[in-house]
Symmetry: C2
Subunit: 215 residues, 2 copies
């Protein structure tokens, strides 16, 4: 595999730490698995949209699945509180070593971009709040391709926009299931195999991928 | 909407009661949300396969996501125990009023078929164990179309095999997200709206759909 030119970063959990959001959701719904359950539903329902040829703002699916999850815990959370809770997605800190890693990669000459399921406004707000937006030449939302990850469309869109070939790029993600697909793959663990590493977070994960792909 | 000729039934949770499986998983992983978390991951990862143009046996994804879920609870479950636990999917009872409902619908002259994410062997075993296989003229697995619900492919496949037009058929499911899509829709709540009713189980659900579609 040739040295990649473009490193394409997933945002939530890969660059940013979801813990503040997780804690708030678990507290609100009085269960320490509430966040996990909500997030899993969110990912499932996002792909329900994509696989049926539809698309919807990730924030709207987040809200609908949050209400669904709250119902499971027999809680009714007022509208304004839901907005406040889910608004935390825009105020997540980077993982402790995210900034240094981005600096090093930038200095080594890699092109850096981000691709997130979130809408463009949320994506910009997130990376600006975390003070890492300056590292990325473009911050992409899947909305631009109207399909959620890991459908190939957003990856194809990014490569086309940045004029980079698939084999010159590398997706970096904390979640195994995000690996690009079909004609786009660069770092592509088999999705079932990839699950095993789906809990690996940023600090361990980047070196792992870097090693795999011989940067 | 014209009177449907074909009623196409989802299997798990719609016709069959998943509680025995849920109880066993919750007991094994010592958490009463373990089943929900596993099932949500299973559905997510099944669509990861479909949206990346791949397909995999639902039972294999079930096993991989079970191991993933067990890890989250810091449990390592021996291989044979996993097989034994997940094997319960083939020994689920029908909901208390499933048999009577199927009898009534059959007597009224509807054609009945089933369409499940499970593989053909599991699907046959399930409906045979529940003693309701005789009601269905065909028991379809998504494997025949190599795409998980609610991707349109399996619905298209069923309609083609049974020589029924989309508008002459009706999907019956306990889960809102299963509603058929694209050119196939017959009973199609908007998927976000459908979430609201996703916890409605069989006894309430069938009359609801029947009412909606004016059978």
């Amino acid at each position: 595999m040739p040295q990649p030119k473009l490193l394409l970063f997933d945002v939530n959990e890969t660059l940013l730490d979801l813990k503040p959001l997780a804690r708030r959701i678990n507290t609100t719904l009085s269960n320490n698995l509430a966040f996990d359950l909500w997030f899993s539903s969110l990912l499932h329902y996002s792909l329900v949209e994509t696989t049926t040829g539809n698309h919807e703002d990730f924030s709207r699916i987040a809200k609908a699945t949050f209400e669904m999850t709250a119902l499971k815990f027999k809680k009714v959370v007022p509208e304004e509180e839901i907005e406040s809770i889910l608004g935390l997605i825009k105020k997540l800190p980077p993982h402790p070593d995210t900034v240094e890693a981005l600096q090093v990669l930038k200095q080594k000459g890699f092109r850096l971009a981000a691709l997130t399921n979130g809408n463009p406004t949320v994506a910009q707000a997130q990376l600006t709040f975390a003070e890492i937006n300056q590292f990325f030449e473009r911050i992409f939302s899947v909305d631009e391709a109207r399909a959620f990850k890991p459908n190939p469309k957003p990856y194809v869109f990014v490569l086309d926009q940045l004029k980079v070939k698939a084999q010159e790029s590398l997706m970096v993600a904390a979640h195994g299931w995000i690996s690009p697909a079909l004609s786009v793959p660069v770092f592509k663990p088999h999705s079932l195999h990839g699950m095993v590493s789906s809990n690996i977070h940023w600090p361990k994960h980047l070196p792992l991928i870097v090693k795999t792909s011989k940067i």
